[in-house]
Amino acid sequence: MTQQIPIQDGLFTWPSAQPELLGSRCDHCGEASFPSQPDCRNCGSRETSVVPIGSRGTLWTWTIQSFMPKDPYRSDETPETFTPYGVGYVEMPGGVRVESRLQLPEGEKPEIGMSLDLVIEPFRTEEDGTQIMMFSFKPTEE
């Protein structure tokens, strides 16, 4: 069986049937951050807790990345196979806007306010066959 590991530990619950993003919440002021961090950017408190911040959100802003980024971008693509991808900030129920790649139907532009769902999918495959798993968002299917 193919081994699958997250691109970074602690970004999302994995493996999980219903994965969620993981952030941190300040024990003092209640502000949330993604990824989780030990100190609070808002009040400077050193007491924060890792919390799930949700799997469905709404789009706050977006763009389309139309050219293949240079290093440190690391996907399986070549300049020939590169396909433009969406990037946006997604407002999560946990009270924070998370920057994410967006998976959009070909040729469709996203819309501010649209509902999006978290997906965890292989992003690239290492030489030994290990799949690197990454989070992204897709339009909610009704």
Binding site: S33, T61, W62, Q65, S66, R74, V87, E91, V96
Partner: protein, 338 residues
């Protein structure tokens, strides 16, 4: 000279210059502060003279970047590698997303984005030292390749090469060196607050705070005892068309949303009521990171001395303003007078 501050991102330490120019033993401090490097070098010199430690020095900035978009390394910005590997660490994306949201909130249309670039390349065509000296038509800009929606190829500045230097002295002795000195009435540098929307941010708080540009601008106006209505000519960081539009309001020169009409009416052209980026800004001069902030100040000096030639703002401008913004959320503002 008694001291120097200098900055460069990709062209080596600024003080390597003295190997070419001659060794003097004087204090030379390298400054590196992202796109705000020039503003920060000038601020350091301003502070050194104001403190009384020195009364004459030089500020220098230069750069030469590889072609194409900047490709910063996550670790240098306190981020983990996944953020860059996944393709989210691009300044172009940030400026596009900030512009996208701004257009949505304040009713700015693509027309305004095109007009900013059209003005920039027109002004560049009048500026002998500009990097792009060819004016572009509205249609050429509006139909250029989409780079990062809503921003097209000719709406972005390009990393380029260039340099700039300024000589500063105590105002009391300025007449010893020149018959028409320009006075630095205010220099202010500020950083981001919790809640301001900044480049290289894997997440943003829901609460919204003023951008560092807003706080730097207010601080500079207070220091100078002047307001936006007193400014005759200005330079605003125009990494891209959208950013110039946003910076017009963040620096206090109009209300959010008023840019659409101001641009349509030509207010920001050289002969308008609010001349912005009279030398073509970053769009026409490229972005040599270490030099850009100082190029802006140089252009204001040219304008205030009436040396602008074909791009001279009419009516003998007396007060000028410069503004830079850089990653990861730094702004520098200067106010200059004659």
């Amino acid at each position: 000279m008694q001291f120097a501050y200098g900055g460069s991102q990709d062209a080596g330490n600024a003080d390597a210059l003295v190997n070419e120019l001659g060794l003097t033993g004087l204090q030379f401090t390298n400054i590196w502060n992202g796109c705000a490097t020039g503003g920060s070098s000038l601020n350091a010199a301003y502070t050194a003279i104001k403190s009384g430690e020195y009364d004459l020095g030089v500020v220098v900035g230069f750069d030469k970047h590889p072609r194409g978009a900047f490709n910063p390394k996550p670790a240098e910005w306190g981020l983990d590698d996944w953020y860059g590997e996944a393709g989210m660490m691009l300044t172009t994306q940030f400026f596009a997303m900030k512009t996208q949201r701004y257009m949505h909130d304040h009713g700015i249309t693509n027309d305004a984005l095109v007009r900013v670039a059209e003005k920039a390349f027109h002004n560049g065509s009048l500026t002998p030292t500009a990097w792009r000296r060819q004016a572009l038509s509205y249609d050429e800009i509006a139909s250029s390749m989409m780079v990062s929606d809503p921003l097209r190829k000719y709406m972005f500045c390009s990393p380029a090469e260039g340099g700039a230097a300024l000589i500063l002295c105590d105002a009391k002795i300025a007449k010893r060196y020149t018959s028409n000195p320009i006075y630095l009435s205010a220099a202010a540098v500020r950083t981001r607050h919790y809640g301001s929307f900044e480049v290289f941010s894997p997440s943003q708080p829901m609460q919204v705070a003023d951008a560092p540009t807003v706080t730097a601008s207010k601080a500079a106006f207070e220091l100078a005892g002047l307001g936006p209505e007193d400014i005759d000519v200005l330079q605003l960081q125009d990494t891209d068309s959208g950013t110039e539009i946003i910076h017009m309001a963040e620096n206090g020169f109009c209300e959010h949303g008023d840019q659409e009409k101001l641009l349509r009416d030509g207010a920001t052209r050289i002969d308008g009521s609010l001349p912005i980026n009279t030398d073509g800004g970053c769009l026409a001069n490229g972005e040599p990171v270490g030099a850009s902030g100082l190029r802006q100040v140089h252009e204001i000096c040219v304008q205030l001395r009436g040396d602008g030639g074909a791009r001279q703002v009419p009516g003998n401008p007396k007060v000028g303003y410069t503004h830079v913004y850089g990653a990861p959320g730094i702004s520098g503002v200067n106010i200059l007078t004659v």
